[in-house]
């Protein structure tokens, strides 16, 4: 019997597999047994009410999809009163995801959603900070540190900082999040991208640009997860292009304590359960007692030829 449980700070998860925010809702319980998931991370809720971006909001690209949903939101009050209760019936811990336009708004909503029934808060700092002319908080270390400190003061719940892969300095941003009091970091959100329908000559998305997700992003996000895991001492949760247990194992080998699965669920609603089963089977094959044994166990690089690279070994 393999032990799949992992600890994200103080929070113990039955297994390292959870949905990625915005790709999961209680509706999935109509198709699969969501009780079996390590945690239930739900759609980001913003401090303000939003209708989201004009359609089309989704487009297909090679090896993935673009989305420009834009976080439609009914605000924190509706979230606490209407959404949180919907998840009471599930055993798996509920992880809220929040976002806001300014550090103060962010801290305010963070406090508001720190209610019983919420086990941790994923702070989606990949969204625009209007005080830094629209740049996402997590684009740079300074605003990341500033907002994390405010968030830390606003709540006693575990805070997971979700980073943006659009930053050119994600390691520094990860360190800033840790310094600011994050209990874990999630690597990462979608990569800004676009596509064009050459028949109509229009952008495929109503917002022109949107977030790329799916298998196409995996090698990029895996690299960032590896860099971040080596830069911080808090747990790193990998998220990007995970379709199979093999993908999840790659993320854990480079140092991730847990993983989030997003787009895969759209293709196959049972994808997360298949990842959990695949992890368990792989552990058995490798005769591992606990999945925790593989976290960060990346071997040395280089083939045999590399041994003589600059002279006889």
């Amino acid at each position: 019997m393999v032990d799949l449980s992992v600890d994200i700070g103080a929070l113990r998860l039955a297994n390292p597999v959870m949905p990625a925010s915005g790709t999961f809702g209680h509706e999935l319980a109509r198709v699969i047994d969501v009780e079996r998931l390590g945690a239930l991370v739900i759609k980001t809720v913003t401090a303000d009410k939003r209708i989201g971006n004009p359609t089309p909001r989704v487009a297909e690209v090679s090896g993935g999809m673009l989305n420009s949903i834009g976080i439609p939101s009914k605000g924190p009050k509706h979230f606490v009163e209407e959404i949180v209760p919907l998840y009471r019936r599930f055993r798996a811990p509920l992880v809220a995801s929040i976002s806001a336009n300014t550090p103060d708004q962010f801290a305010e909503i963070c406090a508001t959603v720190s209610v019983p029934g919420v086990s941790a808060i994923e702070v989606n700092i990949s969204c625009p900070n209007i005080e830094d002319d629209g740049r996402a908080f997590a684009m740079r270390p300074e605003p990341t540190l500033a907002v994390m400190k405010k968030l830390r003061e606003a709540s006693d719940l575990p805070l997971w900082a979700k980073l943006t892969p659009n930053s050119g300095e994600i390691q520094e941003v990860a360190r800033a999040a840790e310094e600011g009091g994050a209990n874990a970091i999630v690597v990462a959100n979608t990569i800004l991208a676009m596509s064009v329908d050459i028949r109509t000559r229009k952008p495929s998305l109503g917002k022109i640009m949107g977030g790329l997700s799916g298998p196409a992003v995996k090698p990029i996000i895996l690299r960032m997860a590896y860099q971040c895991a080596r830069s911080v001492s808090i747990p790193v949760i990998g998220c990007g292009g995970i379709m199979t247990a093999e993908d999840a194992i790659e993320y854990m080998l480079v140092g991730c304590r847990a993983v989030q699965v997003g787009t895969a669920t759209f293709i196959n609603p049972t994808a997360m359960l298949a990842v959990i089963e695949g992890l368990e089977q792989w552990c058995r094959e490798q005769s591992l007692v606990s999945i925790r044994e593989i976290v960060g166990q990346l071997g040395d690089a280089g083939d045999r030829g590399a041994m003589n690279w600059e002279g006889v070994a």
Binding site: G22, T23, F24, G25, E27, L28, R30, V31, K43, I51, G52, T55, P56, R57, V58, A59, E60, V61, S62, G63, G64, M65, N67, I69, P72, G214, P215, T263, T265, F266, I267, N268, P269, T270
Partner: protein, 279 residues
């Protein structure tokens, strides 16, 4: 205006959605554009309601494309035989890939999904206004309504006679079918409007259902408003999850002069005619 019979709605939270690789029993082309695929799916056939759809995984035609699932309305439900059919137009990568499936292959289908059509009370006569793909969506409503003893008139609009579909099936199901086509201009909006007023005069129109054309949507809205009819429209939007989770599939609706945004996959695809927005 007659209230809809909620009992016919399919959006009960209890409803569980099935992901299943169904055996393909039949797969043939209906005309130059359309293909009909029939699968064995007894459980889904028992659950499925006219107006609902399935989210279909198209076979990979080399490359991860088609990447996402494709939504398709239920075209025919045969509970006895335990079969479901889809009538689809070959459009792009997904439907092209679907067209390669052979009898005996499996079709990975997720569903039934969404909210189906609702019927007025007291066997009131209904009128269907369908064009193009909309036909596939409205067709099963004929069977449902005639089964429930509603007199049904179906106005089918197409580019040309050879593109008219399932006229015979609908007649067999007991509907009066009126066909209009662009080629002889019978499909022009004002002429279809005359048809509707005529049907109303004959007492054959207490409710109005439409799908597949923006011009017909606007017409149906006007006529329904004029006579205070119960009306419904089935709408389309690009989808990712098909389950209500991703908010890709929203459309704007007008409720008491307020714009609200609804998800086609779970708050539709069937919506109150009065609230839909054309352009």
């Amino acid at each position: 205006m007659l209230p809809p019979v909620m009992a016919d709605r399919a959006d009960k939270p209890s409803l569980d959605v099935i992901e299943h690789k169904a055996l393909i029993l039949r797969h043939e082309s209906v005309n130059a554009d359309y293909r009909l695929i029939e699968v064995s799916a007894p459980d889904q056939a028992r659950k499925a309601v006219a107006g609902q759809f399935f989210h279909l995984l198209c076979p990979h035609a080399g490359g991860l494309e088609p990447f996402l699932r494709r939504p398709m309305s239920i075209y025919r439900i045969d509970r006895e035989a335990g079969t479901l059919s889809f009538l689809y137009k070959v459009t792009g990568s997904g439907t092209r890939a679907m067209a390669t499936l052979r009898e005996g292959d499996r079709l990975d289908m997720l569903g039934p999904l969404g909210i189906g059509f609702s019927l007025p009370l007291n066997r009131a006569p209904i009128v269907l206004l369908a064009r193009g793909v909309g036909l596939a969506t409205l067709a099963p409503l004929v069977a449902l309504a005639t089964e429930r003893r509603h007199p049904v008139t179906a106005i089918l609009s197409a580019r040309a006679p050879e593109y008219l579909m399932s006229v015979a099936e609908m007649r067999a199901d007991g509907a009066q079918v009126i066909t209009v086509v662009d080629s002889d201009m019978t499909s022009e909006v004002d002429r279809v409007e005359d048809l509707l007023h005529g049907l109303r005069a004959q007492g054959r129109m207490e409710a109005l259902y439409t799908c597949g054309s923006n011009r017909l949507l606007l017409l149906a809205q006007a006529v329904a408003r004029q006579y205070g009819l119960h009306g419904e429209v089935a709408m389309e939007q690009q989808m990712a999850c098909g389950l209500g989770m991703c908010f890709c599939c929203v459309r704007p609706f007008q409720v008491e002069n307020e714009i609200t945004h609804r998800r086609v996959c779970c708050e539709g695809p069937v919506f109150p005619l009065a609230e839909a927005m054309g352009w």
